[in-house]
Structure formats: C-alpha cells, structure tokens
Symmetry: C2
Subunit: 289 residues, 2 copies
C-alpha cells in the first residue's frame, strides 16, 4: 500500500482522480503542486459514459463541500483560520477485498473514497453479515465517524480503491464553531440515518425481488449522481455475494431472482456492468417511491 501526504484539499488536487470505474490506478504525488491551478480542461479528456470527472466528483464529495467549498463560502464570518490550511490527508490505494477499516479498530482517521467501490458492513462472529452501505467516490466512510471513532463496522474494498485518510482531530477543530459546516454535517447524518431506517424497512418488510430491484435502482441513482452522462448502463463490480449480504438473502437465491429479472427483460448484467432495460417495470417490481 502506497501512501503520500498531501496538504489541504484544493480544487485542483481532486484531479488526482475520482472516477467510478476502477482502472488500475497509480498514486500521484500531488503534494508540491497542490496549489498550482490545474484546470480540468488540461486533463486527459476521458469523459466517457460512467466516468466521472473530478468536477462532478468534487461537487458530490462531502469532504470537498464540507472542507473546501465551505471554506470559501464561509468567508462571511471573516476569519482566515490557519486550521484551514493545515488540513492534511494521506492517500492510499489498495486492491480489491482488502480492508479499509477493521471492525475492532478505533481509528483516529476518517477515510473518504476517491475511486472504486467499497462496502461498509456489520458482521456476526459466525460469519453472517449485513452490508449497510456501498461506498462510491466521494463517500465519507460513515458520516458518524467524522466526529467520533465509531467502530463495529468493517469497511472493505470491492474493487481496487483509492481513498484519503483525514485526521479526525483536524476536521473536528475545523468544524466546531462553524455553524454552516455543522449544518452540512447534520444533513449528511440525517441522510445516513434515513437510509439506515429504510434499509431496516426493506429487510423487515419486503420480499426478495423487491429488495433486489430496489438495490439496483438505488445503486443506479447513486452512480448517476456521480456522472455527467445519463445512461442506463453502468459499471457494476458487485458479486452476487455482495447483493446477498446487502439484501439479507442467500447467494443462491439472489442468483435465482436475478435470473428471473434478466429473463423478464428488466435488467441485464454482464462483464461487470449492469443495464436497466425496462426502468418502469423494474420500478414497479421495486415498489419504487
């Protein structure tokens, strides 16, 4: 695992890569040039479908909104705090299936996904586990972990993943006293809680096909938020085991239900990519909204 320390999170630094698909990605040392204004226009033009430019990713990224944009807009209350400039992060790249956060670890760091897919789950000693959320570029690994080390969760890379680790204490120091940043944080919290509650509703009260269809639609929307190009096809690196652990089902049963959905022409999955072929019907199955 490589690791590079960078200073702050300037707009240009995000050029270090936020893309949804997970290509073999190299670490770039962006420490020294961090403040040089690299414009997106100067970057390689690979804005293909389902590939996220840094612009879009940073718009979504809570870290960016909380820590950077918030910074600029926050000028209202006057002070150019030194804390702002000293916010540091280390960048890490890890292969698929590696852990980003161990369930027992009480880390002083807050990881934020930069590229690739990860998952956050809770598990029983006997191996049964429940995936709480899938993490895509721009996602904070558990909003709650921002201000207090919360554990019991396992965070694992699904594809190769690049992420930044911020020091919790620095973030806290920055946020306290900034009402606007706190407001944004509360927004994130409430979203996370609302999703958790919806998950409980799904697991407790919906049947297998509903759950799976809903998972697909949720992921589809989540991916869509991270891309400029609308498309019914997107990268889908999940194994059926992941779908099973997210929906509280068995891999075998997931295979059967997924097979039905495909035979019915609602979706199509091949070579790690998913296409929604009949959105309205899929939404009907999912009892969407």
């Amino acid at each position: 695992m490589t690791s590079t320390v960078i200073k702050a999170l300037p707009k240009s630094a995000s050029a270090a890569g936020f893309n949804v698909s997970a290509p073999a990605m190299e670490m770039r040392s962006i420490g020294s040039q961090a403040l040089a204004p690299v414009r997106p226009a100067q970057l390689p033009q690979l804005v293909a479908a389902n590939t996220m430019t840094c612009d879009v990713a940073c718009t979504i990224c809570p870290a960016f909104n909380l820590l950077c944009c918030g910074m600029k807009e926050g000028d209202a209350d006057g002070e150019g705090r030194p804390a702002t400039q000293s916010l540091s992060a280390t960048v890490h790249t890890i292969p698929a299936r590696r852990l980003i956060l161990h369930p027992k670890e009480w880390s002083d760091f807050v990881p934020i996904i930069c590229s690739g897919w990860a998952m956050s789950s809770v598990a029983l000693p006997d191996g049964r586990r429940q995936i709480i959320s899938f993490l895509l570029p721009g996602d904070i690994v558990s909003a709650g972990s921002l201000l207090a080390p919360m554990s019991g969760h396992t965070v694992e890379a699904i594809t190769e993943v690049t992420y930044r680790k911020f020091k919790r204490e620095e973030i806290k120091g920055l946020m306290f006293g900034r009402a606007d940043l706190l407001e944004k944080l509360f927004g994130l919290w409430n979203e996370a809680k609302a999703r958790a509650d919806q998950l409980a509703l799904d697991l407790g009260r919906r049947r297998a096909d509903e759950r799976i269809a809903r998972l697909i639609l949720r992921l589809s929307e989540k991916v869509a938020k991270r891309t400029t190009v609308r498309s019914q096809t997107f990268d889908f690196p999940l194994r059926q085991r992941h779908i099973a652990d997210a929906t509280g089902l068995t891999p075998v049963h997931v295979s059967k239900v997924l097979g039905e959905l495909q035979r019915a022409g609602l979706v199509e999955i091949n070579s790690r990519s998913l296409t929604i072929k009949n959105a309205t019907e899929l939404q009907r199955v999912a009892d969407w909204r």
Copy 2:
C-alpha cells in the same frame, strides 16, 4: 390534549414525572413553581420496582444532560448566556395509540418522552411497517431531529404518554458554539446509528427466535437503565403486533415463538408485564453479545 408552557427545565421541574410504568397521569402546571426547589424526598414515596424516580430519569435523560447538566458544567467557558434561561417547552399528555409525530409533518419541535412508552416507525403506503425503536422516558424522539426536521417517521404512543416539546431553533441556538454539548449530541447520534445498523443485521441475518429474544433483552436493559431497583420483572405494554413490527415478523408467528419461549420457561408474560425467568438460556437463544 392539554398543554402547558413551562420555562427552562430546572432539576426540580423533572418532578413533573418520569416513570416507566404508565399510570393515568394528570397534567401538572409546573410553570410558576418551576424554580421552587421541590426535593424528591417531598414527593409521594412510590419507589416500587420498575418505577423510576425523577433523579434516575434525569440522569438518563439526554435532554437533561444536554440542556441542564451541560449548562452547569459548561461554566468552564465562562458566559452565562441568556439563551440558557429562555429555553421553553410545552408539556403534553396523550392517550395510547395517538400520534406524537406524523410521517409527513415537518415539525419545528423536538419531543422528548417524559412518561409512558412510544414507538418510532417507518411505514409503506400499503400498511407494512417497521418499528425502528421504542421510546421510553428520557428518550429524544430521534436524535437526528434535534438539529434538522427529519420526517418520514411516525411516532406513536403505545401507552398513555407525557412528553415535552422543545423548540428546535432554541436548542440549536443553545448548542452551536458549545463544543461540550455538541460532543454529547454526537454521542447520542452515533448510538442511534449503531442501533439502526444492528437492527439491520438482526432483520437481515437472524431468525425469528433470535430476533424476539434479543428484543426482549434489549428492552430489559433499556428499562433497567431507568430504574434503581434490579428486577427480572418489568412493565411490558407491547402488544404482539408491536413485537411483530419491530422484528419484521407476523403477529401469528410472534405468538407461536413467544409461546415456545414461555413453555420453555425462559420468559413469562402476563397482564402487561414481563419476567425473564431464565436469563442465561434466553441469552443463549438470543446469541447475546
């Protein structure tokens, strides 16, 4: 529904009643005497098993910890803010089965349970629903709702319930800038999220008997925190329908499993009260901790 406006939440005001059991309770106008030091010793001595004195309740009550104790301890940073004194709340008493918070309502108030049992749930249009948590005296109706109106939840009284409604804006005004209060709030929030995630794990990956046994043990601990007297028997106003909606099961099936648990001599339920007769075995069934 009666309603009385009181000022602040002084230690003595909690004498207005925090008890776990839900007797027919009358509103007491505590507005004018709020600041008179009514000592618990002067109250009727009904400290029976499972009856909570205001002392214990206030120790537990997040509102009290956040808004009152925090107040006193917070003297470290010097200022005696006027906001502190102007924190107001209305007290309400409602019968069983009445709603405290409507799913679509975007309320400007934060309710806190003072007596009785309530439940917080999310529901589907077709009537299926999932109980997210049971609320006992001292519980804030959703920690997240403290700082942003979060809805989609239905909060319903199970027994007759007394609760206070605080103005969100006042609470926010009080909390911002008080690092110690914010820390406590984060703690509450993280607890809530952790419970929600455990709930998802239970619903997704445990079987009926485990879920029910765990619910009983959780409630037992929750009640125990609110009483001074240790006892294996406690008030249990839940209908099997509530257990079903909390565990993602059917009332019929709850009846069967509960019947087995009772026939096996693990628990006993009669006349709205529950006794854990074989804790160790119940914990084994529950796969506890």
